[in-house]
Structure formats: structure tokens, C-alpha cells
């Protein structure tokens, strides 16, 4: 009875602009799943302020112009409270421009661009820690594992990877890590054998991979072919499909993460999410789905804090927000530019059970404040 009455109010709508087609359709769809799960649960829990909380999902076709158009239509046609959704960073940045110019609150679930929260940002909030920070964390992790380690870098010519590498290169000297090989792949590379050979020749302790999509798996396999040990390979992050893609031979390899079903900090609700998601999709969720699942809760919390569905009030509530991820208990708060308090896990793959799941154990956890490193000098 209680929920029924609660939802009597007229609905609050939040726009979700994400990649349901085009090159990023995989992440967009995964993200949509996460959002929809949360939407259902929130509805079941009685919505927010006694009003239903709806998420209107629009396909941006992995195309900036489309994304901007979508933002515009959500803004002016559906008059949404806020927008969220993109998983591809340049798409997110396109929407960012619109959001900041038109004063539409924008909650970015999975996009690691520091630019999304550059100084002066007012309406945008980034849930995922930024890429430069990933690099920083990697350096910290490697130093903790093996003082004075020799590190090889392999990365694609994409902004995300360049940002990560910038972070590593900034922190490495401080941790006296020596970078023995630094290999950039043009976009559309097919083969990494030669580069792998170059890496082998440089005799590193660790190889840090910031490559994308299928090429990431190819590169990994070719490193292993040339005799690099799984334990020496560090993937920038691990999503379920790639971790399974690496296959049994790369058990022991390391990857960065922000949420993992195998972590022991996963809450009851977290486990419920993991189970339901696995049920529905046939694959355990990774940090991507997790961020997308948590985002509606962040929105909900902010609305409750604001006590109304007014954009300005909502925005203020967001920046003053102080909560924990319902799935993992990791704290969530944003600085004045909307950057989330940074944190990162490093996990080690201990087993794979394709196509459904894998097991892994935590090696390392670190938290730090966004201002710890000069992010915006490192990436323009």
C-alpha cells in the first residue's frame, strides 16, 4: 500500500544518453542494463519524494552530434531533471559541453576523462575516477609490489590511454620505477608481435597494457606467446568480457578495477545485483555495470537531499553529496568541480569460467584526493 501511494506523485525523469549502436554498443548496452536494474529497484522501494523516478534511455549511436541532439531533445522535449549515460569519453565530453552551456545537471557514470571535471565545471559530476589517476595508482601499486621495478608500457593512440600513461610517467620517477619501453599503437593496429618482441628484449618486470577492445586480447596473447609471464601483465582495467577473453592461459595476470564481484566488500544489495545481472545477461557484472547501477541511486540521494526536482537545487545537492555505493560501501563524494574522490583496486585473475564468470583476488587498494596530482597540467 505504502509504495502505491508513494508513487502517486507525477514522475521525475532523468535522461540516459548512451551507446546502443555503433562501436561502443557493448558498453552502452551493459550500462543500460545497470540503470534499468536500479530503476526497477527504486520503483519497488517507492520512488523518490513519493514520486516515480524514470530513466529515459536514448541511443547516441556513438556519435557526438547525435549525443548533443539527444541531450537537446531530453532537455527541451522531456524536460528532464538531469542527464547521464555515455560510456565513451568523447561522447561524454560532447554532452558535457551542452550540459554546462544549458545548465543541465550531468552525471557521468563511466568516462574517465579529467576534462569532464576541469576547474570551473559546474553542472557535471564524474562517478568514475579519472584516467590520470589510474596511472598514478598503477605506479603506486607497482612500487608496492617490487621496489625499483622495470616497467614496459604498451598503449593505443587514444586519449584514455594517453592520460593513463601521463599519470604513470608523472608518478614513476617518484616511486623510482624505470620505464624500459614505451610503445604506442596507431588506431586500427592488428598485431602486437613485434612490439611484444621489443618488450621481451627490454626485460621488464611488468608490462602495463592500455590497449582497447579485441586488440587488448590479441596483445595479451602475443605477449604470452613470447614468454612474458601472466603475473607480469597489468591491464589498465578489467571488464568481464575481456578478462574471460584473455582465457585460462592468462590466469595470474593483474588488472585495475573499481568494483569486482569477487571482492569481499560487496554488500548484500551488491550480491543481489550481481546475481540478478548474471541471471539476465549470462555474465557477472564488472565495474562498468556497477557504476551504471549506482548512478540512479546517486541521483535519488541527491533529489532527496535537494527535496525537490529543481535543477539548481539538485546540482547543489550533488556537490554536497556524501554517501556510499549501495553495492560496495565505497564512499561517494564530489569536489567543487564534480570530480569524485579517487580510489582504485588492483586485482589478480585466479580463474576463468567462460562465458559466465571468473575469480580474482584483491592485491591492492588505494584512495586519494583528486588534487593529489596536477591532473589538468598532465592532460590539456
Amino acid at each position: 500500500a505504502m509504495p502505491a501511494r508513494a508513487q502517486s506523485g507525477q514522475p521525475i525523469t532523468v535522461g540516459v544518453i548512451t551507446e546502443l549502436s555503433g562501436p561502443y554498443s557493448f558498453f552502452g548496452t551493459a550500462c543500460r542494463q545497470g540503470v534499468e536494474f536500479a530503476e526497477k529497484k527504486i520503483a519497488a522501494e517507492g520512488g523518490v519524494l513519493g514520486r516515480p523516478l524514470n530513466f529515459k534511455i536514448v541511443d547516441d549511436q556513438t556519435n557526438p552530434a547525435q549525443a548533443v541532439a539527444a541531450a537537446r531533445s531530453l532537455d527541451v522535449q522531456d524536460n528532464v531533471l538531469a542527464v547521464t549515460g555515455p560510456t565513451s569519453s568523447d561522447i561524454a565530453l560532447a554532452v558535457y559541453g551542452y550540459a554546462e552551456q544549458n545548465k543541465v545537471p550531468f552525471v557521468v557514470p563511466v568516462a574517465a576523462f579529467a576534462q569532464l571535471t576541469k576547474p570551473g565545471t559546474h553542472y557535471t559530476f564524474r562517478v568514475e575516477p579519472d584516467a590520470v589517476g589510474w596511472g598514478y595508482a598503477a605506479a603506486k601499486f607497482i612500487a608496492a609490489q617490487k621496489p625499483g621495478a622495470k616497467l614496459a608500457l604498451m598503449y593505443n593512440d587514444i586519449a584514455l590511454a594517453r592520460a593513463i600513461v601521463a599519470g604513470i610517467k608523472y608518478q614513476a620517477p617518484k616511486e623510482n620505477i624505470s620505464i624500459v619501453s614505451d610503445i604506442l599503437f596507431p588506431q586500427g593496429s592488428n598485431d602486437a608481435t613485434v612490439q611484444a618482441a621489443q618488450v621481451v628484449a627490454a626485460k621488464p618486470d611488468y608490462v602495463y597494457l592500455a590497449t582497447v577492445g579485441a586488440f587488448d586480447v590479441t596483445a595479451t596473447n602475443q605477449l604470452l606467446d613470447l614468454g612474458i609471464k601472466p603475473e607480469q601483465i597489468i591491464h589498465n582495467v578489467g571488464t568481464t568480457s575481456t578478462l574471460l577473453g584473455y582465457g585460462a592461459r592468462s590466469i595470474g595476470s593483474i588488472y585495475g578495477s573499481f568494483f569486482d564481484a569477487n571482492l569481499d566488500n560487496v554488500t548484500a544489495e551488491g550480491h543481489q545485483f550481481v546475481d540478478e545481472y548474471t541471471q539476465a545477461v549470462g555474465r557477472i557484472p564488472s565495474y562498468v555495470e556497477n557504476f551504471c547501477y549506482n548512478t540512479p541511486y546517486i541521483v535519488k540521494a541527491a533529489i532527496e537531499k535537494a527535496g525537490s526536482a529543481d535543477r539548481e537545487k539538485f546540482r547543489d545537492a550533488m556537490s554536497a553529496l556524501n554517501m556510499v555505493e549501495p553495492t560496495s560501501g565505497v564512499p561517494i563524494s564530489f569536489d567543487k568541480n564534480g570530480a569524485r574522490k579517487e580510489y582504485m583496486y588492483y586485482m589478480q585473475l585466479t580463474g576463468v569460467a567462460p562465458p559466465k564468470s571468473y575469480t580474482a583476488k584483491k592485491l591492492f587498494y588505494i584512495e586519494w584526493a583528486p588534487e593529489t596530482l596536477p591532473v589538468y597540467d598532465l592532460v590539456k
Partner: protein, 339 residues
């Protein structure tokens, strides 16, 4: 120039302008449709330029979007970094892009027919790689966001909302006027002559090299101006906005509407440009519908939609003057041209 003014006052072109303005006014209340209309106007402009190259000069250049991109990035750079006025930056950028366009057109001097098209496809990929690679100029695949709309000189105000839409409508209309003027000028005739038979063209005193370079310059100007407007209108520019797919879709508007006719590309743009926006809800079917649409048209009306309309159009005096009829080439393999 005189000719241009002269053309601008042709009643039928005025009618077009009126129609365009009307559309802009009608949709102005709904900013979403207004935005889609705006993009369509830019597409019309691009299609017009592409048509000049493809339809009249017979030079299929699939590096078109790349050239638009060069102009866009230059404009943005000049405006956002050097603080130039858009109205100074845009022409400079467009001219620069046009110069590059001429450069990239050089292969067409040796490569005949569709062969040039295929090589331009490769050129486009190189440009795309470039946009990603020269991070400090283009901000790589991150793209550049918060691009300010054009300023209104000496007022400190900026051009936004409906006034910007109106500007785009004018731009689109003007590009049609320009194409019209060119096609009906000696230059236009030379282009057609070159398209039909280069050797004969030279034998009757037409400087093939010079005219080809010229048309690449003019065509690229359309690309450039369009690019500058696009970036400022969308407020964002990234390599994805100016990639091979963009080139192809512009070219498709021309082929779809009808090559070598003034109105064909307009029709093409009016139909194809809005499709992806209006189908945003149908993410699973969108591409299939788009593809099927293209195939259906080319199968049913090989001359493009407008090509099919022309015969009918001839019966209407107004359209007749608007249409340089679609010409089909002789059914002979040596003319279906290749290397």
C-alpha cells in the same frame, strides 16, 4: 560576382529561401527539431559542394568531411586560443581548407573516374588518423567541447538560438545560389566538358588541370564553411564528426538525391540528414532502415530521387528552370570509368 547577385534574385531561388526560412520559423519553438533542421541546412550546404565536385566535375571526393574537419579545427583553434572573431576565423580557415582540398585533389589529375574516389577514401582515413594524432591541435579523439557560438561583431553578444538557425538557412540557400551561378557560368560548362571527355575538352582549349584545381578549391570552400558552422553549431568537434562515414553520408545524399542536378542533393539531404536523429528511439532498426532506404532508392530510381522527378518536373515551369536534367552516361564499359 555580378552573376551571383543576378542569380540570387531569380524568383525560383527566392522561393527556396522562403521555404527554408518558413521551416526554420515553424520549428523554432522546439529546440530539438530546430537543431535537426540546422544540421540539415549544413548538410544541404555540404551536399551542394559535394555535388559540384561529384555531379558536375565527375570527381568523387570521399575526403570531403576530412577537409571540413580541417576547417572546423582551424576555426575553433583561432577562436578559442587566439581569440579571433568567428567572422575572421571562418573565412581564413575555409580558405586554408580549400587550399588543402586542392592539394588532395592532385591525384585526380592522373587517376581517372572512380579510381580517384577510392584513393580519396584512403586520403580521408589519413586525415582521420591525423585528427587523432595531432593532439595539441585537435585534442585528439577526446574532441573539443564548449565551442562558443559565433559572436555578433562589435556587440559582444553571441549568435545563438533561432538567429543561428536563420544564419544556417541563409548559408544553405546561398550555397545553392553559388552552385547555380557556377553551373550556369563558363566555368560550369568547362567542368561538365571535363567530366564528359577530358581529351576532347583539352582539344577545344579547356585547361583541364587548372579547372580541376579550381573546382576542388570551390568545392572545398563549401566543405570548409560548412565545417566551421558545424563545429560552432554543435558546440563540439571530434575526429568522429569528420570521419569516412561522414564523407560517405554526404556523398550518399548527392547520389541518393541525384547527381548533377541543383535540387537533387537538396532532396537527398532533406531526407537522409534527419533520419538518424528522428530514429534515435529505434536504435535496433535505425541502421537497417537507413541502409534499406538507400538500396531501395538506387534500385528503383537509379538516377536518384530527383533524377526520377525531373521528367515530371519538366512539366512544371518553375521546377524546370531549377533542374539541369539528370544525364545518364552511355552504356559502355569503357565509360563506366576506372583506371
Amino acid at each position: 560576382m555580378r552573376r551571383l547577385l543576378h542569380t540570387a534574385f531569380k524568383p525560383q531561388l527566392f522561393l527556396l529561401l522562403a521555404a527554408g526560412l518558413l521551416l526554420t520559423i515553424v520549428v523554432r519553438e522546439n529546440r530539438f527539431f530546430a537543431f535537426v533542421a540546422g544540421i540539415t541546412m549544413i548538410s544541404i550546404m555540404w551536399a551542394a559542394g559535394m555535388n559540384l565536385l561529384t555531379g558536375y566535375a565527375g570527381l568523387v571526393s570521399l575526403a570531403f568531411a576530412g577537409i571540413a574537419g580541417i576547417s572546423a579545427y582551424t576555426t575553433v583553434g583561432l577562436v578559442m586560443r587566439l581569440g579571433w572573431s568567428f567572422w575572421l576565423a571562418m573565412p581564413v580557415a575555409a580558405l586554408g581548407a580549400a587550399a588543402v582540398g586542392v592539394l588532395l585533389g592532385l591525384p585526380s589529375l592522373r587517376l581517372k573516374g572512380f579510381y580517384f574516389a577510392l584513393s580519396s577514401l584512403v586520403i580521408q582515413t589519413v586525415l582521420s588518423l591525423g585528427f587523432v594524432y595531432f593532439v595539441n591541435l585537435t585534442n585528439g579523439d577526446t574532441g573539443i567541447s564548449q565551442i562558443p557560438p559565433p559572436d555578433i561583431p562589435f556587440t559582444g553578444a553571441v549568435l545563438r538560438g533561432t538567429s543561428f538557425d536563420l544564419l544556417l538557412t541563409f548559408a544553405a540557400w546561398f550555397s545553392l545560389v553559388a552552385v547555380w551561378a557556377i553551373v550556369h557560368s563558363p566555368f560550369g560548362r568547362r567542368l561538365i566538358a571535363i567530366r564528359e571527355d577530358e581529351v576532347l575538352a583539352e582539344a577545344i582549349g579547356i585547361d583541364v588541370v587548372r579547372n580541376k584545381m579550381l573546382v576542388f578549391f570551390v568545392g572545398s570552400l563549401f566543405a570548409g564553411v560548412g565545417g566551421a558552422l558545424y563545429a560552432t553549431y554543435v558546440g563540439f568537434a571530434s575526429p568522429r564528426s569528420f570521419d569516412l562515414l561522414s564523407s560517405l553520408s554526404i556523398w550518399l545524399m548527392v547520389a541518393f538525391g541525384g547527381r548533377g542536378t541543383l535540387m537533387g542533393p537538396v532532396v537527398g539531404a532533406l531526407i537522409l540528414a534527419p533520419v538518424p536523429f528522428l530514429l534515435q528511439q529505434y536504435d535496433t532498426l535505425k541502421d537497417v532502415i537507413y541502409g534499406a532506404l538507400i538500396i531501395a532508392v538506387i534500385v528503383l530510381l537509379p538516377g536518384g530521387i530527383y533524377g526520377a522527378l525531373v521528367s515530371f518536373a519538366r512539366s512544371l515551369p518553375l521546377l524546370r528552370r531549377l533542374s539541369t536534367p539528370y544525364k545518364k552516361s552511355v552504356p559502355h564499359d569503357r565509360s563506366v570509368h576506372g583506371a
